[in-house]
Amino acid sequence: MRKNTLHPSLFLPVLLPPAFPEAIERFLEDMARKGWFLEHLSYFPPLWRFEKREAASARYRLEAAPDTSRVPPLQMTELYAEYGWRYVAPLSHFFYVFAAETADAPEIHSDPLVQSRAYSRMLRSYGLFSLAILVLLGVFLAMPLYRPTFFITYPRLSLFLIGYFLFIAVLVLYPFFRLLRRKRLLARGHSLSHKGSYRSILLAEILLVILTLIFLTPAPGKLRAMDQENTLRLALAEVSAPLPYLPMETLYSTEEWIFPPYDSSDEYSGNYVTSQNSFLAPVYFSIHEQARDAENTVASYQTTFYGEFPSGLLAKAVSLELISHQKDFPGLSGKFQTTEETYALEGCGEARWQNILGRQILYLRREGRMLVVSYEGPADLREHIGEYASLFDETYFALA
């Protein structure tokens, strides 16, 4: 029996995942040879506590947990102790660490088929754990499906996020399949190796930590800023190139209306155009007009044009998102009155008009092009649908 005396302790941040039991066993044995014996470990934070004692060639084994309990059954620890194996600590919810500090303790498992049964139970809980994480990751990975406009507006940031989450998904799946392979080896009657290398695993884990730190640091913010740099904003009066919109004056007489000039220092200022060139939406325009009459009635008018999408499917996904987004405006109650009409226009895959609390929204889609008009004022957009559809006949280029 071990003496209950005070020993110097060492806390090490160890990043060895439970999917590599043989590497962890080797690491603990190497530490014991240096006189450091594992006493406690935790994964969150990943700090393992070692006690300094006389160096010895101890053996460590990771035993598959029969259920998700963090504490092994008493019968288990007592029986193992009879054979010289001391229970040390749980390793996550999937393994228990046992140590034998004498050479005459027999190997824990003498029948691989029986050991494969213990692995099966552990794999069941590990599989459920992996599935839960993958479902959470799926929410992020499916982002281009339900937020295609974000993906188009911030392509670099989106690719970084998707790459990162895919990397995490691989890191979740790989250990599961690795443990499954070990279980199959056992089921075929092969004994498991206890001599795994841990240095390459530690390096990979450190790389993951670095990537995580990058993820948490301003790098995503910088990518977002780079994406935003692709967007050019100019006063509408300064642009002479043809723009994919119908000026407000073509909707109705604007002689009595005042169009305040664009003021770049005022974030609420109107009468400007933004243009963006991203690889998913090579020609993007957002044109904002704002006018005021003598009675100070404000007419606001915004036309958004997505041009030359690589596929009609992407255009359809964007239109679905925009329509769904507008339906949610200005709240989720759904109690406000909405009027909706759809039209069959030649050459247009989609033509839809909505009136939500006095704001008219018009969606037109032709192949890889999409036009969304949002307007609040005295005109009726339905009277100009043909003119909007003819905007698709022109060719537009992103502003330089």
Binding site: M76, E78, E82, P106, I108, S110, D111, V114
Partner: protein
């Protein structure tokens, strides 16, 4: 139809059932009995022994009868005895088939 590998008794499982046929024992005594019976050929490790005892209790082949400190004693159940006898019969038939095959091979060689 052949049973799946884990539904069959492994050699170790078979000997564990055998160890409890005549008397109640604790796990360590059963392992010692098997070691002696097989002339050191099968030496059970604690992990194998614990997994088999837990599985047999779960399936109703063994039953825990008493606990004295660390010592837990088990007894074979009627179902455990039946499973053991079925396995003996299966092995006996395997052996007979093998001997029959061996005899016919020897006769062919002598002809």
């Amino acid at each position: 139809m052949a049973k799946k590998s884990m539904e069959l008794l492994t050699e170790t499982m078979f000997y564990v059932l055998m160890a409890f046929l005549k008397e109640e024992r604790c796990g360590v005594d059963a392992a010692e009995y098997i070691r002696q019976k097989t002339h050191d050929r099968i030496q059970l490790g604690p992990g194998t022994l614990y997994t088999i005892l837990a599985k047999f209790q779960e399936e109703g082949l063994l039953r825990e009868t008493s606990v004295h400190g660390r010592k837990r004693t088990y007894r074979i159940t009627d179902r455990g005895r039946q499973v053991y006898l079925e396995e003996v019969e299966r092995l006996r038939r395997c052996l007979l088939d093998a001997e029959e095959e061996n005899d016919s091979s020897q006769k062919e060689e002598s002809l």
